[in-house]
């Protein structure tokens, strides 16, 4: 599953650590999602969408 996490994070000038803290996950997990090594669960995807104030579809693509 592809995602725009890295781009969106860079646009907001957030570090992986800051995003990880907002999502209540480790920095390693944010990195794994960004690189496509780990697909988040639906609840975590919703949380990501809430943090970026976007819909899930605007962040994650099949």
């Amino acid at each position: 599953m592809k995602n725009r996490l890295k781009i969106l994070r860079a646009e907001r000038d957030w570090t992986q650590a800051q995003l990880a803290e907002a999502l209540e996950v480790s920095r390693q997990t944010v990195n794994a999602i960004e690189t496509g090594k780990f697909d988040p669960s639906l609840p975590l995807a919703f949380k990501v969408a809430r943090v970026f104030e976007l819909s899930i579809e605007e962040i994650f693509q099949d």
Partner: protein, 140 residues
């Protein structure tokens, strides 16, 4: 810079607290285990009451360790939980398969020594560590 949260560090500090608590329970359990194992030889010379007390204390710390471990696992994020699950599954599978084969070897008199539970614990610990290592590497 507009940060994504106003609760910076809260999750991380909770995780650290859980890990520390697990560390304390682990240390207490290991020390009480050593006391129960070596106490009869070096301290109280096989008296029944101290033996029973040492074993009960060890059991109590063991239960505390199990609860702390469960609490720690629940505090991890979903990817860390997945890594832990896979490592635990590997350790359990290896433990059951190798443990039973080990017992069969002894029953068939193909090994010349008595199988010890410590061998199985060591094997399970090593396979768990290997599972954690490969899991963390995969998602790095």
């Amino acid at each position: 810079m507009n940060t994504p949260t106003n609760e910076t560090g809260k999750w991380t500090s909770r995780l650290k607290q859980n890990t520390l608590r697990l560390g304390y329970w682990t240390a207490a359990w290991v020390v009480s285990m050593a006391l129960a194992a070596f106490g009869p030889t070096f301290i109280w010379q096989s008296d029944t009451l101290p033996n029973l007390l040492a074993i009960l204390v060890n059991l109590g710390f063991g239960i505390g360790w199990i609860i702390a471990n469960k609490h720690n696992l629940r505090g991890l994020d979903e990817m860390q939980q997945k890594i832990q699950l896979e490592a635990t599954a590997l350790s359990l599978s290896v433990g059951v398969v190798a443990g039973l084969s080990y017992e069969l070897l002894e029953d068939a008199h193909l090994i010349g020594f008595q199988p010890e539970i410590s061998h199985l614990v060591l094997l399970m610990s090593l396979s768990y560590a290997f599972g954690l290592f490969t899991g963390n590497r995969r998602y790095r």
